[in-house]
Protein backbone atom coordinates (compact mmCIF):
# COMPACT_ATOMS: atom_id res chain seq x y z
CA UNK A 1 0.00 0.00 0.00
CA UNK A 2 1.23 3.46 -0.83
CA UNK A 3 1.63 5.89 2.09
CA UNK A 4 -0.88 8.20 0.41
CA UNK A 5 -3.65 5.78 1.37
CA UNK A 6 -2.66 5.87 5.01
CA UNK A 7 -2.40 9.66 4.98
CA UNK A 8 -5.84 9.95 3.38
CA UNK A 9 -7.27 7.62 6.02
CA UNK A 10 -5.64 9.67 8.76
CA UNK A 11 -7.16 12.84 7.29
CA UNK A 12 -10.62 11.27 7.34
CA UNK A 13 -10.21 10.08 10.93
CA UNK A 14 -8.92 13.50 11.99
CA UNK A 15 -11.93 15.26 10.48
CA UNK A 16 -14.34 12.83 12.10
CA UNK A 17 -12.66 13.46 15.45
CA UNK A 18 -12.98 17.20 14.90
CA UNK A 19 -16.69 16.88 14.17
CA UNK A 20 -17.08 14.84 17.36
CA UNK A 21 -15.40 17.59 19.38
CA UNK A 22 -17.75 20.15 17.85
CA UNK A 23 -21.08 18.36 18.15
CA UNK A 24 -20.90 16.18 21.26
CA UNK A 25 -21.89 17.59 24.63
CA UNK A 26 -20.48 15.03 27.05
CA UNK A 27 -17.00 16.10 28.11
CA UNK A 28 -15.66 12.54 28.21
CA UNK A 29 -16.87 11.85 24.68
CA UNK A 30 -15.22 15.06 23.53
CA UNK A 31 -12.03 13.84 25.16
CA UNK A 32 -12.30 10.54 23.31
CA UNK A 33 -12.69 12.40 20.03
CA UNK A 34 -9.49 14.31 20.81
CA UNK A 35 -7.78 10.96 21.31
CA UNK A 36 -9.10 9.91 17.91
CA UNK A 37 -7.51 13.00 16.36
CA UNK A 38 -4.19 12.24 18.05
CA UNK A 39 -4.34 8.67 16.74
CA UNK A 40 -4.97 9.96 13.22
CA UNK A 41 -1.89 12.17 13.51
CA UNK A 42 0.14 9.17 14.63
CA UNK A 43 -0.99 7.22 11.59
CA UNK A 44 0.20 10.04 9.34
CA UNK A 45 3.55 10.14 11.16
CA UNK A 46 4.07 6.41 10.68
CA UNK A 47 3.05 6.65 7.03
CA UNK A 48 5.58 9.42 6.43
CA UNK A 49 8.24 7.38 8.23
CA UNK A 50 7.48 4.51 5.86
CA UNK A 51 7.70 6.87 2.91
CA UNK A 52 11.12 8.20 3.89
CA UNK A 53 12.42 4.85 4.99
CA UNK A 54 13.69 6.04 8.37
CA UNK A 55 12.41 5.80 11.90
CA UNK A 56 12.15 9.46 12.90
CA UNK A 57 8.41 9.53 12.28
CA UNK A 58 7.94 6.47 14.46
CA UNK A 59 9.86 8.12 17.29
CA UNK A 60 7.71 11.24 16.98
CA UNK A 61 4.59 9.09 17.09
CA UNK A 62 5.96 7.46 20.22
CA UNK A 63 6.38 10.89 21.83
CA UNK A 64 2.86 11.82 20.80
CA UNK A 65 1.59 8.73 22.58
CA UNK A 66 3.48 9.64 25.77
CA UNK A 67 2.21 13.20 25.75
CA UNK A 68 -1.33 11.95 25.05
CA UNK A 69 -1.14 9.64 28.07
CA UNK A 70 -0.08 12.54 30.30
CA UNK A 71 -2.80 14.72 28.80
CA UNK A 72 -5.46 12.09 29.45
CA UNK A 73 -4.44 11.77 33.09
CA UNK A 74 -4.65 15.50 33.77
CA UNK A 75 -7.75 16.00 31.64
CA UNK A 76 -9.70 13.25 33.32
CA UNK A 77 -8.65 14.56 36.73
CA UNK A 78 -10.00 17.99 35.72
CA UNK A 79 -13.24 16.34 34.60
CA UNK A 80 -13.49 14.60 37.97
CA UNK A 81 -12.97 17.90 39.78
CA UNK A 82 -15.61 19.63 37.63
CA UNK A 83 -18.04 16.78 38.16
CA UNK A 84 -17.47 16.90 41.89
CA UNK A 85 -18.20 20.61 41.97
CA UNK A 86 -21.09 20.80 39.50
CA UNK A 87 -22.51 17.26 39.40
CA UNK A 88 -22.46 17.25 35.61
CA UNK A 89 -20.15 16.09 32.84
CA UNK A 90 -21.82 18.19 30.18
CA UNK A 91 -19.85 21.01 28.66
CA UNK A 92 -22.97 23.16 28.56
CA UNK A 93 -23.21 23.33 32.33
CA UNK A 94 -19.80 24.90 32.85
CA UNK A 95 -20.83 28.34 31.68
CA UNK A 96 -19.87 30.71 34.49
CA UNK A 97 -17.46 32.57 32.23
CA UNK A 98 -20.16 33.10 29.61
CA UNK A 99 -20.90 36.75 29.19
Amino acid sequence: MSPIHYVALSVILFVIGGVGVLVRRNAIVIFMCIELMLNACNLAFVAFATMHGNLDGQVIAFFVMVVAAAEVVVGLAILMAIYRARRSASVDDANLLKY
Binding site: M1, S2, P3, H5, Y6, V7, A8, L9, V11, I12, L13, V15, I16, G18, V19, G20, L22, V23, R25, N26, I28, V29, M32, C33, E35, L36, N39, N42, L43, V46, A49, T50, M51, G53, N54, L55, D56, V59, F62, F63, M65, V66, V67, A68, A69, A70, E71, V72, V73, V74, L76, A77, M80, A81, Y83, R84, S88, A89, S90, D92
Partner: protein, 276 residues
Amino acid sequence: MRHVLAAGTNTDVIARETIFWILAVASVGAALAMILVRRAVHCAMMLAVVMLSLATMYAMQGAPFLAFVQIIVYTGAVLMLFLFVLMLIGISTADSIVETIKGQRLAAGLAAIGLLVILILGIGHAAIGPAAPQTAANGTNNLSEIARLIFTTYVFPFEVTGALLITAALGAMVLAHRERAAPKPTQRDLAARRLASGQLAPDPPPGVYALHDAADRPALLPDGTTSDLSVSPVLSQREVIEAPPAVRPQVETPAITAESGEREPAPSGQMGRADS
Protein backbone atom coordinates in the same frame (compact mmCIF):
# COMPACT_ATOMS: atom_id res chain seq x y z
CA MET B 1 15.78 -10.46 8.58
CA ARG B 2 12.86 -9.81 6.30
CA HIS B 3 9.69 -8.53 7.82
CA VAL B 4 6.75 -10.87 7.86
CA LEU B 5 4.62 -8.65 5.69
CA ALA B 6 7.45 -7.26 3.58
CA ALA B 7 6.31 -6.69 0.06
CA GLY B 8 8.11 -9.27 -1.91
CA THR B 9 5.68 -11.40 -3.82
CA ASN B 10 2.42 -10.57 -5.49
CA THR B 11 0.32 -12.39 -2.89
CA ASP B 12 1.89 -10.23 -0.18
CA VAL B 13 0.76 -7.10 -1.97
CA ILE B 14 -2.76 -8.43 -2.41
CA ALA B 15 -2.93 -9.47 1.24
CA ARG B 16 -1.75 -6.06 2.36
CA GLU B 17 -4.29 -4.28 0.17
CA THR B 18 -7.10 -6.50 1.42
CA ILE B 19 -6.17 -5.99 5.05
CA PHE B 20 -5.80 -2.25 4.53
CA TRP B 21 -9.22 -1.82 2.97
CA ILE B 22 -10.93 -3.98 5.60
CA LEU B 23 -9.26 -2.03 8.40
CA ALA B 24 -9.88 1.33 6.74
CA VAL B 25 -13.61 0.68 6.39
CA ALA B 26 -13.79 -0.70 9.93
CA SER B 27 -11.95 2.24 11.46
CA VAL B 28 -13.86 4.92 9.56
CA GLY B 29 -17.16 3.19 10.39
CA ALA B 30 -16.22 2.93 14.04
CA ALA B 31 -15.13 6.57 14.11
CA LEU B 32 -18.44 7.63 12.57
CA ALA B 33 -20.31 5.48 15.09
CA MET B 34 -18.30 7.18 17.82
CA ILE B 35 -19.84 10.55 17.09
CA LEU B 36 -23.29 9.10 16.43
CA VAL B 37 -23.96 6.72 19.32
CA ARG B 38 -25.68 8.14 22.33
CA ARG B 39 -24.00 6.30 25.18
CA ALA B 40 -20.47 7.16 26.20
CA VAL B 41 -19.57 3.51 26.89
CA HIS B 42 -20.43 2.52 23.32
CA CYS B 43 -18.30 5.45 22.25
CA ALA B 44 -15.35 4.00 24.14
CA MET B 45 -15.88 0.60 22.52
CA MET B 46 -15.87 2.19 19.08
CA LEU B 47 -12.67 4.03 19.98
CA ALA B 48 -11.14 0.66 20.90
CA VAL B 49 -12.01 -0.65 17.43
CA VAL B 50 -10.30 2.34 15.82
CA MET B 51 -7.21 1.96 18.00
CA LEU B 52 -6.84 -1.76 17.29
CA SER B 53 -7.23 -1.15 13.55
CA LEU B 54 -4.52 1.49 13.70
CA ALA B 55 -2.27 -0.89 15.64
CA THR B 56 -2.61 -3.46 12.87
CA MET B 57 -1.81 -0.78 10.31
CA TYR B 58 1.35 0.16 12.21
CA ALA B 59 2.41 -3.48 12.09
CA MET B 60 1.72 -3.58 8.36
CA GLN B 61 3.86 -0.48 7.84
CA GLY B 62 6.89 -1.98 9.50
CA ALA B 63 6.42 -0.44 12.94
CA PRO B 64 5.94 -3.45 15.25
CA PHE B 65 7.10 -1.53 18.32
CA LEU B 66 4.51 1.21 17.81
CA ALA B 67 1.87 -1.42 17.14
CA PHE B 68 2.42 -2.99 20.53
CA VAL B 69 2.72 0.35 22.29
CA GLN B 70 -0.57 1.31 20.68
CA ILE B 71 -2.27 -1.81 22.02
CA ILE B 72 -0.67 -1.77 25.46
CA VAL B 73 -0.68 1.96 26.22
CA TYR B 74 -3.68 3.21 24.27
CA THR B 75 -6.12 0.34 24.23
CA GLY B 76 -4.87 -1.09 27.50
CA ALA B 77 -4.20 1.89 29.72
CA VAL B 78 -5.73 5.05 28.28
CA LEU B 79 -9.01 3.47 27.26
CA MET B 80 -9.32 1.68 30.60
CA LEU B 81 -8.75 5.03 32.32
CA PHE B 82 -11.57 6.45 30.21
CA LEU B 83 -13.83 3.59 31.23
CA PHE B 84 -12.95 4.03 34.90
CA VAL B 85 -13.85 7.71 34.82
CA LEU B 86 -16.95 6.87 32.80
CA MET B 87 -18.05 4.45 35.51
CA LEU B 88 -17.41 7.15 38.11
CA ILE B 89 -19.19 10.07 36.52
CA GLY B 90 -20.54 9.34 33.08
CA ILE B 91 -23.04 6.55 33.56
CA SER B 92 -25.55 8.41 35.67
CA THR B 93 -25.35 11.62 33.67
CA ALA B 94 -27.87 11.80 30.88
CA ASP B 95 -26.55 12.57 27.42
CA SER B 96 -28.32 15.66 26.25
CA ILE B 97 -29.32 15.70 22.61
CA VAL B 98 -30.58 19.26 22.51
CA GLU B 99 -28.73 21.62 20.25
CA THR B 100 -27.80 24.45 22.57
CA ILE B 101 -26.47 26.70 19.84
CA LYS B 102 -28.85 27.08 16.95
CA GLY B 103 -27.55 25.55 13.76
CA GLN B 104 -24.41 24.24 15.44
CA ARG B 105 -24.54 20.81 13.84
CA LEU B 106 -24.96 22.27 10.39
CA ALA B 107 -22.07 24.65 10.99
CA ALA B 108 -19.95 21.79 12.33
CA GLY B 109 -20.74 19.71 9.25
CA LEU B 110 -19.81 22.57 6.92
CA ALA B 111 -16.59 23.21 8.84
CA ALA B 112 -15.76 19.50 8.63
CA ILE B 113 -16.31 19.44 4.88
CA GLY B 114 -14.15 22.54 4.51
CA LEU B 115 -11.36 21.05 6.62
CA LEU B 116 -11.56 17.79 4.69
CA VAL B 117 -11.29 19.60 1.36
CA ILE B 118 -8.35 21.68 2.54
CA LEU B 119 -6.48 18.67 3.90
CA ILE B 120 -7.18 16.50 0.86
CA LEU B 121 -6.00 19.33 -1.40
CA GLY B 122 -2.93 19.69 0.78
CA ILE B 123 -1.92 16.08 0.60
CA GLY B 124 -2.87 16.05 -3.08
CA HIS B 125 -0.37 18.81 -3.77
CA ALA B 126 2.30 17.31 -1.56
CA ALA B 127 4.72 14.95 -3.21
CA ILE B 128 3.95 11.78 -1.31
CA GLY B 129 6.02 9.15 -2.99
CA PRO B 130 5.82 5.39 -2.78
CA ALA B 131 7.00 3.57 0.30
CA ALA B 132 10.72 3.25 0.67
CA PRO B 133 11.94 -0.34 0.54
CA GLN B 134 11.63 -1.91 3.93
CA THR B 135 14.91 -2.43 5.68
CA ALA B 136 15.96 -4.29 8.78
CA ALA B 137 14.94 -1.18 10.73
CA ASN B 138 11.32 -2.01 9.94
CA GLY B 139 11.64 -5.64 10.89
CA THR B 140 13.59 -7.41 13.58
CA ASN B 141 15.87 -4.43 14.28
CA ASN B 142 12.97 -2.04 14.77
CA LEU B 143 13.15 -1.95 18.56
CA SER B 144 16.90 -1.46 18.80
CA GLU B 145 16.87 1.18 16.08
CA ILE B 146 14.12 3.14 17.83
CA ALA B 147 15.99 2.81 21.12
CA ARG B 148 19.16 4.10 19.46
CA LEU B 149 17.29 7.12 18.07
CA ILE B 150 15.57 7.89 21.37
CA PHE B 151 18.77 7.72 23.38
CA THR B 152 20.95 9.62 20.92
CA THR B 153 19.15 12.10 18.67
CA TYR B 154 16.04 12.50 20.77
CA VAL B 155 17.51 12.12 24.23
CA PHE B 156 16.60 15.64 25.38
CA PRO B 157 12.92 15.38 24.32
CA PHE B 158 12.88 12.01 26.03
CA GLU B 159 14.06 13.52 29.31
CA VAL B 160 11.54 16.36 28.99
CA THR B 161 8.92 13.66 28.54
CA GLY B 162 9.93 12.20 31.88
CA ALA B 163 9.45 15.60 33.54
CA LEU B 164 6.07 15.90 31.81
CA LEU B 165 4.94 12.52 33.11
CA ILE B 166 5.93 13.36 36.69
CA THR B 167 4.14 16.71 36.41
CA ALA B 168 1.04 15.00 35.05
CA ALA B 169 1.00 12.47 37.89
CA LEU B 170 1.38 15.25 40.47
CA GLY B 171 -1.28 17.34 38.74
CA ALA B 172 -3.73 14.45 38.74
CA MET B 173 -3.10 13.89 42.44
CA VAL B 174 -3.64 17.57 43.24
CA LEU B 175 -6.79 17.78 41.10
CA ALA B 176 -8.31 14.58 42.45
CA HIS B 177 -7.49 15.52 46.03
CA ARG B 178 -10.35 16.92 48.04
CA GLU B 179 -9.85 19.12 51.04
CA ARG B 180 -12.06 18.17 53.94
CA ALA B 181 -14.43 21.04 54.62
CA ALA B 182 -15.54 19.70 57.98
CA PRO B 183 -13.65 17.51 60.46
CA LYS B 184 -14.03 13.78 59.92
CA PRO B 185 -17.04 12.48 61.86
CA THR B 186 -16.13 10.17 64.67
CA GLN B 187 -18.02 7.01 65.56
CA ARG B 188 -19.88 8.92 68.26
CA ASP B 189 -20.99 11.52 65.71
CA LEU B 190 -22.18 8.81 63.36
CA ALA B 191 -24.16 7.12 66.14
CA ALA B 192 -25.77 10.42 67.14
CA ARG B 193 -26.64 11.14 63.53
CA ARG B 194 -28.22 7.75 63.12
CA LEU B 195 -30.30 8.15 66.30
CA ALA B 196 -31.43 11.56 65.14
CA SER B 197 -32.42 10.28 61.70
CA GLY B 198 -35.04 7.96 63.15
CA GLN B 199 -33.89 4.91 61.17
CA LEU B 200 -31.83 2.71 63.46
CA ALA B 201 -31.48 -0.33 61.23
CA PRO B 202 -29.36 -0.24 58.10
CA ASP B 203 -30.97 0.31 54.72
CA PRO B 204 -32.82 -2.76 53.46
CA PRO B 205 -30.88 -4.68 50.83
CA PRO B 206 -32.61 -5.23 47.50
CA GLY B 207 -34.77 -8.21 46.95
CA VAL B 208 -34.91 -9.44 50.53
CA TYR B 209 -38.64 -9.66 50.89
CA ALA B 210 -39.35 -9.04 47.23
CA LEU B 211 -40.65 -11.57 44.74
CA HIS B 212 -37.30 -11.70 42.96
CA ASP B 213 -33.85 -11.83 44.40
CA ALA B 214 -32.28 -9.34 42.01
CA ALA B 215 -30.44 -6.10 42.60
CA ASP B 216 -32.88 -4.04 40.57
CA ARG B 217 -35.93 -5.15 42.56
CA PRO B 218 -36.78 -2.93 45.49
CA ALA B 219 -37.22 -4.66 48.80
CA LEU B 220 -40.71 -5.26 50.13
CA LEU B 221 -41.01 -3.94 53.61
CA PRO B 222 -42.91 -5.99 56.22
CA ASP B 223 -45.99 -3.84 55.70
CA GLY B 224 -46.02 -4.70 51.99
CA THR B 225 -44.73 -1.44 50.57
CA THR B 226 -41.58 -1.19 48.52
CA SER B 227 -38.50 0.62 49.70
CA ASP B 228 -36.75 2.88 47.22
CA LEU B 229 -33.79 3.04 49.55
CA SER B 230 -32.85 -0.52 48.68
CA VAL B 231 -32.06 0.07 45.02
CA SER B 232 -28.96 1.81 43.77
CA PRO B 233 -29.74 5.27 42.34
CA VAL B 234 -27.78 4.35 39.22
CA LEU B 235 -30.28 1.60 38.42
CA SER B 236 -33.28 3.82 38.95
CA GLN B 237 -31.75 6.47 36.70
CA ARG B 238 -31.32 3.96 33.92
CA GLU B 239 -35.01 3.06 34.29
CA VAL B 240 -34.53 -0.67 34.37
CA ILE B 241 -36.71 -1.13 37.43
CA GLU B 242 -40.11 -2.61 36.90
CA ALA B 243 -42.50 -1.38 39.52
CA PRO B 244 -43.61 -4.37 41.58
CA PRO B 245 -47.07 -4.53 43.13
CA ALA B 246 -47.29 -2.51 46.27
CA VAL B 247 -48.75 -5.36 48.27
CA ARG B 248 -47.70 -8.94 47.75
CA PRO B 249 -50.73 -10.56 46.09
CA GLN B 250 -51.65 -14.13 46.87
CA VAL B 251 -51.80 -15.16 43.21
CA GLU B 252 -48.13 -14.48 42.83
CA THR B 253 -47.20 -17.49 44.92
CA PRO B 254 -47.43 -20.01 42.03
CA ALA B 255 -45.34 -17.67 39.93
CA ILE B 256 -42.46 -18.09 42.33
CA THR B 257 -42.62 -21.85 42.13
CA ALA B 258 -42.95 -21.70 38.37
CA GLU B 259 -39.91 -19.52 38.13
CA SER B 260 -37.91 -21.65 40.54
CA GLY B 261 -39.02 -24.61 38.47
CA GLU B 262 -37.53 -22.89 35.46
CA ARG B 263 -34.32 -22.20 37.24
CA GLU B 264 -33.87 -25.68 38.64
CA PRO B 265 -33.09 -27.59 35.42
CA ALA B 266 -30.03 -25.48 34.72
CA PRO B 267 -27.88 -26.72 37.61
CA SER B 268 -29.16 -30.26 37.25
CA GLY B 269 -28.27 -30.20 33.57
CA GLN B 270 -24.84 -28.97 34.49
CA MET B 271 -24.43 -31.79 36.96
CA GLY B 272 -25.59 -34.26 34.35
CA ARG B 273 -22.95 -33.01 31.97
CA ALA B 274 -20.36 -33.15 34.68
CA ASP B 275 -21.33 -36.76 35.44
CA SER B 276 -21.17 -37.84 31.82
